[in-house]
Symmetry: C2
């Protein structure tokens, strides 16, 4: 039953907050009722801006919250104590960050904003509590964690058995698809990261990224202008790889 203290307008406001907040991942599919929604909205309302270049969290920091990325763009890097760092993922609107920290109660990678961003803090203990009460939320959360595992397997496939061209094609198509899901153009977008960061993610050097990008351009598959990318022949990019790698 609807809680008496909530008008339909409140509920709509909550829904709006909620759906902006963690769009694709946490909120929408949870199918909460009004009372649940209210709690949910409260829980998910702790907004925190992160300026470009700032850390959302660093490796070693204690787990307090997970973070739903509302707007902006981030990267996560896992570090090797000899200085090497490996970009483990790029995150955009709707992604849920910090899952790595649950295992040991402390973060295992650095997460940095690549442009001015906004996150919702989600205190992890509250999330666990709430998901004990709301089965659909529980299941949804499990799916999100599992999806991350599947995604990582995809990256392992990419790093372990694809050539430079294939990796980059998969990368571009993956970005394209993620933009599409979020309502942006899948064929034209700005890269938020440097060639070096792409290289790190794909296990290649920045020069190789640059060269392959140029080659793709020569072959008419894409147009590159600095950070601006226009995908002209997605089907040819697809052909370069198998489909597996980009449906992550």
């Amino acid at each position: 039953m609807p809680s008496p203290s909530l008008t339909p307008i409140d509920v709509n406001r909550l829904k709006a907050v909620c759906s902006t907040c963690s769009l694709h991942e946490l909120c929408l599919p949870a199918g909460l009722d009004q009372r649940e929604l209210e709690i949910f909205g409260r829980l998910f309302n702790r907004r925190r801006p992160v300026k470009r270049g700032d850390y959302l969290y660093r490796a070693g920091a204690e787990l307090q919250s997970l973070y739903a990325l509302r707007t902006g763009f981030m990267k996560s890097c896992v570090l090797h104590e000899d200085g090497r760092e490996q970009v483990a993922g790029f995150h955009m609107m709707g992604d849920l960050l910090g899952l790595d920290a649950i295992s040991s109660n402390s973060h295992t990678c650095d997460t940095v904003a690549l442009e001015d961003s906004d996150v919702c803090e989600i205190p992890f203990s509250s999330l666990e509590k709430l998901s004990r009460e709301i089965p659909s939320l529980q299941n949804h959360f499990h799916r999100i964690m599992s999806r991350e595992i599947v995604r990582d397997h995809g990256v392992m496939l990419l790093l372990g058995s694809m050539r430079a061209e294939e990796r980059l094609a998969a990368f571009l198509l993956n970005l394209s698809q993620r933009f599409a899901v979020r309502g942006y153009s899948p064929t034209e977008f700005n890269l938020r990261m440097t060639r070096e960061e792409i290289g790190s993610y794909l296990g290649l050097k920045l020069e190789t990224i640059s060269r392959v990008l140029s080659r793709f351009q020569e072959e008419g598959l894409i147009e590159v202008q600095n950070k601006h990318i226009k995908i002209k022949k997605p089907e040819k990019l697809h052909a370069l790889i198998g489909q597996t790698a980009c449906k992550i």
Copy 2:
């Protein structure tokens, strides 16, 4: 309160079943009371043997259960439709398998026994239900998923930024450590997988695995005899890499 229908002997039996069943991952740390233990024991009692070479599950199969590996050794492979396959992980006693399937309700990789094995089936819906009732179980399950994510990040680091020697050193030390945790010798063990499977996992070819293994042997770091490995200078293997990669 203890359930009146359970004698201390029952409880001990359940504890035994339970701890053999999913040793390091699910049971031990859950800290259940007697009633919980009883339900748990029932839930985890569906034993299923898997013969060497048989599939535990295949990509595409619907998610029914997760599997706690009781005895034996398995590998998971993610497949590329052009035939390439990438080994995504090796599993031993105590590991929890099938987490990838939660995301889409169907498995995304093949899991095959590398030697005769035994698993406990854990119906996923029951696990979700039970973990709503037992917070410590819930949290433990979340940690397991998160650990898998952390592990995968480690593999990404390895594949993305380590040289062949480093990869193999990290691999051997990782195995060594996992055997140690399970009470086996960390310095002497049998590889259950072929050089080709190691290669696939590490993003290298079998010839490279063979060569590097030989080189390690020449340098006195290890002794290899076919599948039998003796680690003679773990500290030197450590020195070859940073520590990060092997503490997964």
